[in-house]
């Protein structure tokens, strides 16, 4: 183990940058699991789907992955709304969401992954964009643009989401449906419709997160699995549905993971977030910014 200040600073900064990306990956789950109480463990699978969409468009038309992802958000929104409709009719309406709803999402995760494996194989795929090669140097700091750009865009995404949730009617209705869907009905708002929109937004963020993922690292179908625990760890640590909490928790986990892989070796890094998750669940289930 070589310890130097230089290495430490670089590890912390790259942890923060990766954390920004993790925040984009998690904000969808913060919406679905944190606010709507839908345990969408298939979220990482949709992120991988987003990566592959970005890859296909990039490989055939040479379009920028982030631009592709933004164009594709309506399609992902519709997909999410459709999935919520199935989920609502088959599970929530019958009150069976706990056991069978979980199994449903688990099955979706599995089907997406295996379909991608069957169609694209298990080769790693990557995209081309101008910002993928170069880095910015600030003194001793190395900021690779391929992590910096997704981090900045993802912070922008979360800011927009936070604005939508706190300033618009739909956003406030989403926050309200989490608290009391019956009261929402008394205000002549259809809670199912609001939840459908919210779940659609949550899946739409997966399109962007998928593009970030494939910019940062090459992607193959089973990569999503590593993100399941990480995403839920961040969501729980951030305080279930609080977007600022999500950003803080994501950066925290990013930093700890980056320090672990710098000083102990990358093979230990996956255990960090899961360790954090188990610890949070055991010690403070309300998370950092818990309401």
């Amino acid at each position: 183990m070589i310890f130097s200040f230089d290495l430490l600073i670089n590890a912390v900064v790259s942890g923060v940058l990766i954390g920004g990306f993790y925040a984009a990956v998690t904000c969808g789950v913060s919406l679905s699991f944190g606010i709507l109480d839908i345990v969408n463990i298939a979220h990482p699978a949709f992120i991988i789907l987003g990566s592959y969409v970005a890859y296909i468009v990039n490989a055939t038309f040479g379009l920028d992955p982030i631009l592709t992802a933004i164009i594709m958000t309506p399609a992902f929104f519709v997909l999410g709304a459709g999935i919520y409709q199935v989920y609502y009719v088959s599970f929530e309406k019958r009150g069976q969401e706990s056991l069978r709803g979980l199994a449903f999402f688990f099955g979706l995760l599995f089907i997406t992954e295996v379909s991608l494996v069957l169609y694209f194989g298990v080769d790693y795929r990557y995209v081309d964009a101008v910002y993928i090669g170069p880095s910015v140097h600030l003194g001793q700091l190395d900021l690779p643009l391929r992590i910096l750009v997704p981090c900045l865009v993802s912070l922008l995404l979360i800011a927009v989401l936070q604005l939508i949730l706190t300033r618009t009617f739909i956003g406030r209705a989403i926050m309200a449906v989490a608290q009391d869907s019956f009261a929402l009905r008394l205000m002549a708002v259809d809670p199912v419709r609001i939840k459908r929109i919210a779940f659609g937004i949550s899946i739409a963020t997966a399109s962007l997160a998928g593009a970030f993922l494939i910019i940062i690292q090459p992607v193959e179908p089973s990569v999503g699995r590593e993100y399941i625990g990480r995403v839920f760890a961040i969501c729980v640590l951030g305080g279930m549905g609080s977007l600022p909490g999500t950003v803080i928790a994501a950066m925290l986990i990013g930093i700890v993971e980056s320090l672990t892989s710098t000083f102990y070796g990358p093979s230990w890094a996956p255990a960090v977030s899961f360790g954090f998750l188990l610890l949070t669940l055991a010690v403070r289930p309300a998370g950092i910014m818990g309401r």
Binding site: F33, V39, I41, V86, S90, F91, E92, K93, R94, G95, Q96, S98, L99, R100, L102, A103, F104, F106, G107, L108, F110, I111, E113, V114, S115, V117, L118, S181, F182, R185, P191, S222, R225, E226, I228, G229, F232, A233, V236, S267, W268, P270, A271, F274, G275, L277, L278, L281, A282, P285
Partner: protein, 331 residues
């Protein structure tokens, strides 16, 4: 049927299966049958927690691998007979199940499910970084060719697995018809009400995770001897997790029959699909069946048969009325 009689019947059936497999003459039957029986044990174990208590465990692969790796650890130290390894693997997995439950079972059900997912990755990381059991390179186990008086070693493994399956099913059935089982059912139906009525829910859930974890570990303990070369990424593979959830849900979760039926059907189907089509396609089939069944037939095959046998003209009207209940009405 009383439990001893039930056990006797099971043993007779097991003996008949073993005898007919021997009579078939081809050792491939044992290789394929072992996997199916392994899934019978796994899905029965999953169902004790998932079906009876309503707590979803996504970490079946972790408990299974714990059993397998504790066998490897012991083998590296000193090779012991498999029945001893079974006890060891079961004890290790049971303990981990207990600890895991103690940490997370006070929370809502979804947290437990997510934590089990996390457990699988933590354990995999530990095993990959643990050189004694082979690390990421994997571990080889040299098994004896023949074992007296049964003959070929795979037959011996098959025999062990079928006895384990009988044991698992008997335990599951015993639980179902006992105080414990009724306690589990109250947790599944309404945990808050159960707690209010004085059911010691946390203690019961801990019992369930321990039994379920121990059985999964036992299913994993002989696995290194079966496979010969144990590798972390395949031992912790998602197929164990998805299969041990899909089989009980497809079969039906309320009784011991469901996981058995589900595992036998789906397990055999997969064995056939692996040979005739490809192993990726058979996982796709499992995923689609799982999603299809939870949407269309929430009570699985057993539920379908049950409804078919007990159907009455006015029964359907009654069911529709329950289905039409809207959520969000005044509680």
């Amino acid at each position: 049927m009383r439990t001893p009689t039930f056990l006797l019947v099971c043993l007779v059936v097991a003996a008949a299966v073993f005898a007919s497999a021997v009579a078939f003459g081809n050792d491939y039957v044992f290789f394929a049958g072992y996997v199916v029986l392994q899934y019978v044990v796994l899905s029965t174990a999953w169902n004790i927690l998932g079906g009876y208590c309503g707590y979803v465990n996504f970490g079946s692969a972790a408990f299974f691998a714990l059993g397998a790796y504790s066998s490897v650890a012991i083998y590296k130290f000193h090779p012991l007979p498999i029945p001893v390894l079974l006890v060891f693997g079961g004890a290790v997995s049971g303990l981990v199940g207990f600890g895991m439950g103690y940490l997370t079972l006070r929370l809502r059900g979804a947290f437990f499910a997510i934590a089990t997912l996390a457990l699988a990755v933590v354990l995999q990381t530990l095993v990959v970084n643990w050189d004694y059991v082979g690390g990421s390179r994997g571990a080889y186990i040299v098994r004896p060719e023949v074992i007296e008086p049964i003959g070929n070693y795979i037959r011996y493994l098959f025999l062990i697995m079928i006895l384990l399956a009988v044991a698992a099913i008997t335990v599951a059935r015993l639980i179902e018809h006992s105080r414990l089982g009724y306690g589990f059912a109250t947790i599944r139906d309404d945990e808050l009400a159960a707690e209010a009525c004085g059911v010691p829910t946390l203690r019961l859930k801990l019992v369930a995770t321990t039994i379920s974890g121990a059985l999964m570990g036992m299913a994993g303990a002989p696995f290194p001897y079966y496979i010969g070369y144990l590798q972390p990424s395949s031992t912790f593979g998602l197929d164990y997790a998805v299969n041990s959830i899909a089989m009980p849900l497809i079969g039906g979760t309320t009784s011991w029959v469901g996981p058995l039926v589900g595992a036998l059907l789906l397990g055999s189907l997969q064995q056939i699909a692996t040979v005739t089509i490809s192993s990726a396609v058979n996982l796709l089939i499992v995923g689609c069946l799982l999603v299809g069944f939870v949407i269309v037939a929430p009570n699985g095959i057993v539920g379908l048969v049950h409804t078919y046998l007990q159907r009455k003209p006015d029964d359907f009207v009654g069911r529709r009325k329950v289905d039409a209940d809207q959520p969000g009405t005044v509680p």
